[in-house]
């Protein structure tokens, strides 16, 4: 999101030009600095150019306060301080231009480094100014190659000598860290003429009885209003509003300017009555003009809406180096990803496009990280566990994208802050930025309709409310006769969230988030003849949770900060197939997390935390033994049905400590230690962690990490009826090494090598054991092993406001050694090659187009060699070959997305079309077999699927 700051320079020169009958030019000639953070005010000296004439220096530039604006401007990140010039160089005025009385503006794009130096000066634009015979200013915008008079090299040479205090961003520990930024700098070449009359600022007292014909700077305000961005209603801060009143024949026109304040307000004093022409002309916005009738006796209040050139959500020219606690943390802003094709506007699903993440079959929601199982991935919201991520296991995320600010993807070697997961972590953070005004949207798409509303309440409070409800049921119900299905309840889902954030004072913030989610399908077949009586009664599946999270963030002292979170949610899973099979789970999770951070110096941070979960509940199941990873599915009717009903009470406290040390500039080391306890199985886990990052130079960073991680078995694996209550924790060791390259301001590249050593994996067993004096099947033991190794490449690009995208490639291998086996086999989700190329391009007139191409190795599969007929069940039992010894064909697919936005004064309308599988590739996801497994045919995935949606934002 781009906002601008206007920094006026050479005001005297500008006014001198106007006094020469230069008339009114819609292109304002103030030298200004463009910052893409937001509206910021910079303190700085007036810059005056030198030439053969003395520069008038009696007009001050408007002063401003450095630092942040207290969250009043919705687009500005809190804690940002822009750079300010401490050394400026006056350019040499080209002699030929001076002789020809030609003035100019040169626009340059510059990088300001973390030590305040100027680099990568790139001329972007050039405009020549001359005066015609009548003295009106003539503007000539020209190509850089048409700079006959030499303004561009003079400007570049001068720019090289500039020095700045670097821009800073306050990190999570409250420490301002220098960051590189990119600016657009306009350097003006203005000839300062002597004996300049400045009629626009002259104070003249009108003769008695005569109407005032000049502007009275000390007069009352008689023209004021607000300048807002069209569509978003965001106040435009630091914009120059210029007004001009044409004079009578022979008279000079009157001209005045006002700069909008933090609320987008402008005001003019003492304007003579008349029909004034109001102009706003700022970079990245369409020129705006309007007429306004001004009265000398009344106040005219007018609000104007200025439209941006582009409303793309790319974070364009800002290059920030986020403070990293993690060796590998891929952070994606929600705004950046909402237009990625193939994601159904689902922010969490974009993680599947990152390197190291395997592709789930049928577009499901599983996140399979670096060869680990889906259940080895921990999902967190603000550090607390999420009971479920998607509706119906993969359809839509249970939390809307609007609630989220960032998605952090941690594929390995993560800090001691995270635990209970041996695979990886996906953490979403809720929006922390206070909205500047009431806003929201209504979103209608093929899956559901959702509404979102957020609003500030006073200066210290803001609320967010959201809700979605699907309407698949409304579509299916009329079709139920044709499908011969009788839906007691057709598939439907809904979710809702409410959040209140209260800034108690400058150092304390409280927030309360409540949430609810519910998925349900309930159907029976009209004619159940031919269906096993045990399976009659239809299918019913329901998944729900509801709860609340309370957070208290406190900056206790300048160096000491505490963050405490408490979360409670109620969860239920119910599944029934006829009368014979069911699964009913109900539990209440209580979670507490507290993190104390002490940063006495910039180079040292100590962190201590507690992370406790308690989960009482009960489970009742009647079903066949579920297949383990690597095993083939079980056909109903074959195998034994097991029945279990029991209570459980999981208790999992944990503590961690870690230190961030910067022994020398550019090198950060983070040793940590996490201690966990699990009951069941009443086992301690001690987990050392170590990570290091070394910024060798501004371009190259190397990094590495090592860590030990534990995870408890799945609940059914330890249940009395289905599993082995004596199972121990699974363990993994992560080894990560890599490098990051910053290639200019638009491109970053990342290479990482990883190795995971898995042991004590839960593995199926046919052994028998003695338990409570009885010989019983063991079902599972901890004799499984795993090993995963590979490399990831990621290149990300954000090129100005128009384009963003990335290329991600992973090559890896994931293997398992089952209990009792001597041979390693491929993991079910091993995908040797994963290539994802995606990009979004913003076109003019608020169009954007995006594409995503994926090329992925097929999943391993177990060949079926035939079948043996089981007379008892009247069905064939599959005869399997070597586990995961063949591979499905490679997958490739192109998704395309087109967005169009219509911008109105107070709202915007977005329409999108998301075309998944654009060339209708019939990717094989599995193999279908005949009843006796003697014949097979490809079982392909989804064909070309167009989905569309429309969103009204206000």
């Amino acid at each position: 999101m781009t906002q601008k700051y206007k920094y006026r320079e050479g005001v005297a020169s500008t006014r001198a030009r106007a006094s020469q009958g230069g008339g009114f030019s819609p292109n304002l000639r103030c030298a200004r600095v463009l910052l893409v953070f937001g509206a910021l005010m910079i303190a700085g000296p007036v810059w005056a150019q030198e030439d053969t004439e003395e520069a008038a220096a009696d007009v001050e530039a408007p002063t401003a306060e450095p630092g942040t604006i207290d969250g009043q401007d919705s687009a500005l990140p809190t804690g940002l301080t822009p750079p300010s010039a401490v050394q400026e160089v006056t350019p040499a005025y080209p002699q030929a231009a001076l002789a020809d009385e030609v003035e100019a503006d040169v626009v340059m794009q510059i990088d300001v480094t973390v030590d305040g130096r100027v680099e990568n000066i790139v001329p972007m634009g050039l405009t020549y100014y001359t005066y015609d015979a009548e003295g009106y200013l003539q503007e000539d915008e020209r190509e850089l190659t048409a700079d006959e008079l030499g303004f561009v090299p003079a400007a570049v040479e001068a720019m090289q000598g500039f020095e700045f205090t670097p821009a800073t961003m306050v990190d999570d520990e409250g420490v301002a860290q220098p960051i590189p930024v990119q600016l657009t700098w306009r350097m003006g070449f203005v000839i300062d003429y002597e004996q300049v009359e400045v009629p626009v600022v002259a104070e003249e007292v009108p003769e008695e009885g005569q109407p005032p014909s000049q502007i009275n700077q000390d007069g009352p305000v008689n023209l004021e209003g607000r300048l807002l961005e069209r569509g978003t209603r965001t106040p435009l801060v630091g914009f120059i509003v210029a007004v001009e009143l044409a004079g009578a024949e022979g008279e000079e026109p009157l001209y005045a300017e006002s700069v909008t304040d933090a609320d987008g307000r402008y005001e003019f004093r003492g304007l003579p009555a008349g029909e004034w022409r109001l102009v706003v002309n700022e970079a990245d916005y369409f020129p705006f003009e309007s007429s306004v009738a001004v009265s000398s006796t009344e106040v005219t209040d007018s609000t104007y809406y200025v439209e941006r050139n582009t409303y793309g959500e790319n974070v364009a020219t800002v290059t920030t180096t986020p403070v990293r606690q993690e060796v590998t943390r891929r952070t994606i802003s929600v705004q950046e990803i909402q237009r990625i094709p193939g994601n159904n506007n689902d922010a969490i699903r974009v993680v599947q496009n990152l390197p190291g993440v395997a592709r789930p079959a049928f577009g499901g929601g599983d996140v399979i990280i670096r060869g680990s199982a889906p259940e080895d991935t921990e999902f967190l919201i603000d550090g607390m566990g999420i009971p479920a991520v998607y509706h119906f296991g993969g359809l839509r995320a249970v939390f809307p994208s609007e609630l989220l600010e960032e998605i952090n993807f941690l594929p390995g070697g993560y800090s001691a802050y995270y635990g209970r997961a041996t695979g990886g972590v996906v953490e979403v953070t809720t929006r922390q930025t206070r909205p500047g005004q009431i806003g929201g949207h209504v979103d209608v798409n093929v899956f559901d309709t959702g509404v979102w509303l957020e609003a500030p309440i006073g200066d210290k409070l803001f609320v967010q409310l959201g809700g979605r409800r699907s309407y698949i049921d409304a579509i299916l119900l009329p079709l139920s006769d044709a499908l011969e299905l009788n839906f007691t309840t057709a598939p439907r889902y809904y979710d809702a969230q409410a959040r209140v954030v209260w800034d108690v004072n400058q150092n304390n913030r409280l927030s309360l988030l409540t949430f609810i989610s519910d998925d349900l399908i309930d159907l029976v077949q009209e004619d159940e003849t031919g269906i096993d009586p045990e399976q009659r009664g239809g299918i019913r599946a329901r998944s729900y949770f509801n709860g609340a999270q309370l957070a208290w963030t406190s900056q206790i002292t300048e160096t000491l900060r505490n963050e405490m979170r408490v979360q409670v949610y109620n969860q239920g899973l119910n599944f029934a197939l006829g009368q014979g099979l069911y699964f009913n789970l109900k539990n209440i999770e209580h979670a507490y997390r507290d993190t104390l951070t002490w940063s006495p110096t910039e180079r040292f941070t100590f962190r201590y935390g507690m992370d406790i979960r308690a989960i009482p509940g009960d489970i009742a199941v009647r079903a066949p033994q579920p297949p383990a990873e690597g095993q083939e599915s079980v056909d109903l009717g074959q195998g034994e049905t097991i029945e279990v009903a029991q209570n459980f009470n999981f208790y999992q406290p944990a503590q961690f400590v870690e230190v961030d040390v910067v022994p020398v500039e550019g090198l950060s080391i983070r040793p940590g230690f996490r201690m966990e306890y699990y009951r069941p199985p009443e086992q301690w886990a001690f987990q050392p962690r170590l990570a290091a990052r070394w910024q060798i130079n501004p371009t190259v960073l190397v990094k590495g990490a090592f860590g030990s991680f534990h995870q408890d078995p799945q609940p059914f694996e330890t249940s009395d009826g289905f599993g082995n209550p004596d199972l121990r924790l699974e363990q993994a060791f992560h080894y990560v090494a890599g490098t990051e390259l910053t290639l200019g301001t638009a491109v970053t590249a990342n290479l990482e090598l990883f190795y995971k050593d898995l042991n004590q994996l839960v593995s199926p067993s046919n052994n028998t054991v003695q338990r409570n004096g009885e010989t019983v099947p063991e079902f599972y033991n901890n004799d499984g092993d795993g090993r995963i190794f590979g490399a990831e490449f990621l290149v990300r690009a954000n090129v100005d406001t128009r384009f963003s995208g990335w290329v991600a490639y992973t090559i890896s291998r994931s293997e398992r050694l089952d209990a009792g086996s001597d041979e390693w086999r491929l993991f079910d989700f091993d995908q040797t090659h994963i290539l994802t190329i995606l990009g979004t391009y913003n076109l003019p007139k608020n169009w954007s187009i995006g594409a995503r191409f994926r090329l992925v190795s097929g999943n391993p599969a177990t060949p079926l060699l035939g079948g043996a007929f089981d007379v008892d069940s009247n069905s064939y039992v599959r005869v399997a070959g070597e586990a995961n010894s063949i591979r499905q064909p490679a997958f490739h697919q192109l998704d395309i997305r087109v967005d169009k936005r219509w911008v109105y004064n107070r709202w915007m309308l977005n329409l999108y079309l998301d075309l998944q599988n654009a060339y209708n590739r019939r990717n094989q996801e599995d193999v279908a077999y005949s009843y006796d497994f003697e014949e097979s045919a490809p079982f392909t995935g989804l064909p070309i699927i167009p989905s569309f949606g429309i969103r009204a934002e206000f």
Partner: protein, 315 residues
Amino acid sequence: MKTYAYTGALLSITGVLSACGGMGFEEFYEVSKLRTLAIGAEPPEIGPGQSATFSTLTVNPSSDAPMTYQWEACLFTDGPDAYYACSESTEAGVAGFPLGNAPEAQLNYDTLTAAGFDIAEICASLEGIDLPDFITLPDCTRGLPLTIRLVATQGGVTEVSKKTFTLLRPEEAEREDVNTSPVAGELTLNGQPAQGYVLSADSTLDEVELSLDVDLSQAQTYEPPDPANAGQRLESNVEELNVAWFTTHGTLEYSRTYYAQGITPVDELGSNTLDLTTGVEPETGETITLWAVLRDDRGGISWRSWSFSVATITN
């Protein structure tokens, strides 16, 4: 705590069954090649002093070539991936024994016992031993379950089938509710006896009503043993019956029909519809064969077959 992985797996189990419909494969009830449709044991279970005769419904409408049979009785098998071959493990005692190569095979309880095959001893010895990974501990509550394995071969093509057969403990064999095989009556087509019937061209060939006569008293009432309390019985059950239908031509509305007391309609078990205008359509005068395999839920099984034809087919 991660609970959703199991729910996902359970849903995938139910999904497998439905995944293969509409893929162009033959339906399960279509018989066009060598198939074993059933293995019968008479009586279904034996106790001391009894013998059982095993027979098979192995058919091939496409070939008259001679078939060969190989019968085995296994205590343990190497599982489905080995086509249920009798296990070679000797640690558990007798692993298995051949039953001959005739179309039928016999098994005598006392002959086994005399050969050292003591059921009680075997069941007791199974507890506590370290079984190989591919062997599942059998349930000895009522007796010793054996796997009867049949390999039928014709013209180089082999069909492997297996059935569970229980050698009862003496006390179980003496009960009055010991299992007997249900028996089906006659089949009618559109109300006419099926055997030798010729469907006229005026018949509605796309909706041939099949009605199998099954006396519902064939569903025995029995009291299963309580596995948690030796010597105790659970409350009485009524057997559930089912008919598996097979045909050489046409398509059937139901592959299987059921009777479960209190759940299914009483006339559902023997009712089906045959559509001779879809699937493999018969030629004029061509013989169509139907089979019906009747089972109870305790291993009892029997079958009947009928052949009929259709008069002039007008395409």
